[in-house]
């Protein structure tokens, strides 16, 4: 795309160079570490309960295991959130919905799979209506247990925060 400005013609793709500039700027360590710190302490999971582990997920944000201390605020719409928590079994119908919601979320986004059913089918392993989350979504952290105890979910959140701040999280991409 060529754009002329008072006689000076610029050649080359503007978006491409803008994206490179952003990546160069963001990858400078001070900005990168501040960004990772910001993302780590404001992990908002989208309100998308997939199965019965939702009861234990709700218990983690309840007063006894209050995970809002880590800045973890279950939020409403996919657009404003950056974490998707697969709570329990993913049936085929729900898997379609999970993929749509995942694609609607803005870019630095992470996926956590909670419960034995989300790891490899759990007690419903031989059901004909079950999908493994690892086949359809880039899952970062698996939480064993059926249902996992709220302490396990809180520990998984802290592990995800550490991974983000070390830059190893898959969802960071840029």
């Amino acid at each position: 795309m060529v754009c002329g400005m008072n006689g000076v013609t610029l050649i080359g793709n503007l978006e491409e160079s803008a994206r490179k500039a952003v990546q160069w700027l963001v990858n400078k360590t001070p900005i990168r570490s501040i960004r990772d710190w910001g993302i780590a302490f404001s992990l908002w999971p989208v309100h998308f309960t997939t199965a019965c582990c939702g009861a234990e997920f709700a218990a983690t944000s309840a007063p006894r295991f209050d995970v809002e201390r880590m800045g973890f605020l279950p939020f409403v719409a996919p657009r404003q959130t950056n974490l998707m928590l697969i709570e329990g079994t993913l049936t085929r119908k729900m898997a379609k919905a999970a993929v749509w919601v995942y694609e609607q979320m803005p870019d630095p986004k992470f996926v956590m799979a909670m419960g034995a059913c989300a790891i490899d089918g759990g007690i419903f392993w031989n059901s004909y209506n079950i999908v493994r989350p690892k086949d359809i979504l880039p899952v970062e952290i698996y939480i064993p247990g059926c249902p996992p105890r709220p302490e396990a979910v809180a520990r998984a959140i802290i592990m995800l925060q550490k991974r983000i701040r070390e830059g190893k999280a898959v969802g960071l991409k840029v």
Binding site: A55, A62, T91, W100, S127
Partner: protein, 388 residues
């Protein structure tokens, strides 16, 4: 009319107050003309899997669909299995089963109250509900060792005996919950905004409730005193007196008040059960004699049950059995047809939420868009339990 007046609103699986299902709402301005639920998002084929599992393996399978109310589901299945096997649990085990069932009812009602609170916008009631639920979960953890999925009730009895000092701690917990229920009354039940949002909303008349076969607190809030614990008492309910919480109005507020009243009744039941609990074995006689003496002595000292070898390959005689249990959300029916092998020929599990699905189309009609979460929350509908 040529031009389209109504707009189809998809309140899909990803929505703060839709739960694990999609609601097709025909909306004309702010008025909901018609609402059709599309369930099946958590259909994990429990009935088909039960045909591939052994009888003892079905206990954890049966608890998963209704996680918030696992003890009643476990109890219902084991009662049906005991009818097939023709054995009876000893009196002490009957009392232990009743205590766990009522504890589970209390924290399942708090779960329903909390979810209803967040749907109305009051996040405080969600947090309070889940805080008080943790107390009963902690007591259940002391009794059975697990938070939600207890698998505590086995054919012929229960797995563990009362731990030391359980009665005093339970008395403290119940007294704390009674104090908390007063705060709920002040902040939520008598709050002018809640009353404006719930009273007169989603009225279920008595004849419609009976015609549609509604169960549980939704039915008793419309004036029908049907409670399986009174109609066909099981476990230790014949010896315990409690009354059935019934209200006449049938609107959303009545359903919430029935659940709060049932929490009080369950506390009363637990107190009586803990006082009258008889001594004796916690596993039925014909399984006790199969256990080698060394393990039997272990069972006396530790108060924990060692499974006899026969449990692995239970082969109930050919035949069928049906059992009814009053789960937290309503009447739960199990129908097992066995053909003499180690796994059932046909396993039918009708959960209370599945019988309340018809409420969606019936109740949420000609009401406001803002009434959808209000009525949905008042039904205490748990989608995984309905989809099985």
């Amino acid at each position: 009319m040529s031009e389209e007046r109504t707009m189809e609103l998809l309140i899909g699986p990803q929505h703060p107050s839709s739960g694990h299902m999609r609601l097709y709402a025909e909306v004309d301005g702010d008025i909901v003309v018609r609402l059709k639920p599309n369930i099946g998002y958590v259909h994990r084929t429990v009935e088909k899997l039960a045909e591939t599992k052994k009888y003892i393996q079905i206990i954890p399978l049966v608890e998963r669909p209704s996680l918030a109310d696992a003890a009643n589901h476990n109890l219902g299945y084991v009662l049906a299995l005991e009818k097939l096997l023709g054995i009876e649990a000893p009196p002490r085990a009957q009392y232990l089963r009743t205590i766990l069932a009522e504890m589970n009812r209390i924290h399942s009602h708090f779960y329903g109250l909390g979810i209803h609170g967040i749907m109305l916008g009051s996040s405080t009631i969600f947090m309070w509900g889940f805080a008080d639920r943790e107390i009963m979960i902690e007591m259940a953890q002391r009794l059975t060792g697990a938070r939600l999925t207890y698998s505590y009730i086995i054919p012929g009895g229960v797995r563990r005996d009362l731990p030391q000092g359980f009665e005093e701690e339970m008395e403290k917990a119940l007294r704390y919950i009674e104090r908390r229920l007063k705060d709920y009354g002040k902040l939520f039940l008598r709050n002018p905004v809640t009353r404006a949002r719930l009273e007169g909303v989603g009225v279920l008349r008595k004849e419609d409730a009976i015609k549609l076969g509604i169960v549980g607190p939704n039915l008793r809030a419309s004036g029908v005193p049907y409670d399986v614990r009174k109609v066909q008492p099981y476990c230790a309910y014949p010896e315990l007196e409690f009354d059935v919480a019934v209200r006449e109005e049938g609107d959303s507020m009545a359903r919430v008040l029935v659940r709060v009243e049932e929490i009080r009744q369950s506390m009363r039941i637990i107190r009586q059960a803990l006082k009258q609990i008889p001594d004796g074995p916690i596993l039925s006689e014909n399984y006790l004699k199969m256990i080698p003496p060394k393990w039997k002595e272990f069972m006396e000292t530790k108060g924990r049950v060692k499974f006899p070898a026969i449990m692995a390959n239970l082969r109930p005689p050919k035949g069928e059995a049906i059992s009814r249990v009053e789960a937290a959300r309503g009447e739960l029916v199990y129908y097992i047809i066995s053909d003499g092998t180690t796994s059932p020929y046909r396993f039918r599990m009708v959960t209370p939420s599945f019988r309340n699905v018809v409420l969606f189309e019936h109740l949420i009609r000609e009401c406001r868009v803002a009434d959808i979460p209000a009525i949905y929350g008042s039904m205490d509908y748990f989608p995984p339990e309905a989809d099985r």
